[in-house]
């Protein structure tokens, strides 16, 4: 088959590589064999722990210094143990998504459309009573945004010298908040109400 044919079969493939070197491989439906990391691996419609891909979500693509992001939603089966699919082991897992043409059970001319890291995870109860797992993603390149500023006047550096000294705890450099009903501050300030 070629993309110019009257009918083609396509599939999306999702691979999540966890930090502990296990992985989850999901595809739209049925099953497929696909080689992403030098060995042919089986991708299935459902995983015994993470279930199915409930929503591929939205994926950003951009040029230059754009920090791409995305979300995916998984629907773990009721038989899976909650702590197996929900916890800090999800963080920093590598998430890749391919899109390719299918012949039999093999994928040809697959193109990688995303390479991301899991940044956040959240459990939601959907309308049908199903527990779903929402994963917030950031671009892998976003790790390079981290700046190591050395010894600066910060809470972390301060505590490295003076362990347990909490003087810098509130020096977060974030906007401060005052309680509702307090006197209005000057408009030029960074104080906000909520």
């Amino acid at each position: 088959m070629a993309v110019t044919d009257t009918a083609i079969t396509v599939a999306g493939l999702l691979k999540i590589d966890f930090v502990d070197e296990t992985s989850v491989r999901l595809c739209d439906g049925g099953f497929l064999y696909f080689t992403s990391d030098s060995t042919s691996e089986k991708y299935e419609a459902s995983d015994s722990i993470y279930g199915t891909l409930a929503d591929p979500g939205e994926w950003e693509m951009g040029f230059g210094d754009q920090a791409e992001g995305g979300t995916i939603t998984l629907a773990p089966p009721d038989t899976a143990t909650f702590t197996d699919w929900y916890g800090d082991h999800l963080l920093d897992a590598r998430v890749r998504l391919w899109f390719g043409e299918v012949s039999g059970s093999t994928v040809s001319s697959a193109e990688q459309v995303a390479d991301m890291l899991i940044d956040t995870y959240e459990q939601e109860i959907s309308a049908g009573g199903q527990r779903i797992l929402q994963l917030g993603l950031i671009s892998r390149a976003e790790k390079l945004f981290l700046r190591n500023e050395g010894n600066v006047c910060s809470e972390r550096f301060h505590k490295s010298v003076w362990t347990g000294e909490n003087g810098f705890n509130n020096c977060t450099d974030l906007a401060g908040y005052v309680a509702w009903g307090a006197e209005s501050p000057p408009r030029s300030g960074t104080t906000r109400f909520r």
Binding site: T6, T9, V10, G30, F31, A45, V102
Partner: protein, 195 residues
């Protein structure tokens, strides 16, 4: 998985494909392209006749529990499919829309559009034979099937040809109407294959 009663027989059965593909068609007359996605499977709509309350109770009780646990129902066909022997999947690592089989009685006709179930990993997956084929003397054949395989069967997985079952989830809760004539009317249900 709840086994549904076998009597009384339904008045109507309708098969539909749960199709995950679609047609890409531009709004200004550009040529269309069919986009197939994997995972197509069956939805079976069954309409039951008016029946006595005692019969309806069997159906309603099974369908009530089946709503939670899934249902299994013996497929009724227009012809007698018995006499297939003990067909099995012939070899692992199979995929796509062909299936190597073995263990048939020699001479058995796999009819065009005949439904059958592959029992793999404890679950059933219903397919249909696309091209009629008579089984050879060695009991083996390569069948053309639709939809394509949704799971990878292992060697010697059981094939249900003589008495195939469909199993899946009920599309919605089922109730009948208990009328003044002391007959239950309007029982019907839809089984959607789960995988």
């Amino acid at each position: 998985m709840i086994d549904l009663p076998t009597t009384p027989s339904p008045t109507n059965i309708r098969w539909e494909v749960l199709d995950f593909g679609g047609t890409m068609q531009g709004p200004v007359g550009g040529s269309a392209q069919r986009i197939n996605r994997l995972g197509n499977r069956w939805s079976l709509m069954v309409t039951l006749p008016p029946m006595l309350p005692a019969d309806a109770d069997q159906w309603e009780a099974a369908l009530l529990r089946g709503l939670r646990q899934g249902v299994r129902w013996r497929i009724i066909q227009a012809f007698n499919p018995e006499g297939a022997g003990s067909p099995l999947v012939d070899g692992g690592s199979q995929a796509g829309d062909q299936l190597d089989v073995k263990g048939f009685n020699a001479g058995y006709w796999c009819r065009r559009n005949q439904p059958f179930a592959i029992v793999s990993g404890g679950k059933r997956y219903v397919h249909r034979v696309v091209t009629a084929q008579q089984i050879g003397a060695d009991g083996t054949a390569t069948l053309e099937i639709e939809p394509p395989l949704r799971v990878e069967p292992t060697d010697e997985d059981v094939l249900e040809f003589s008495a195939p079952y469909i199993e899946g989830l009920l599309a919605e809760p089922v109730t009948g109407d208990f009328s003044a004539d002391r007959i239950v009317h309007g029982l019907s249900f839809t089984i959607n294959e789960a995988g």
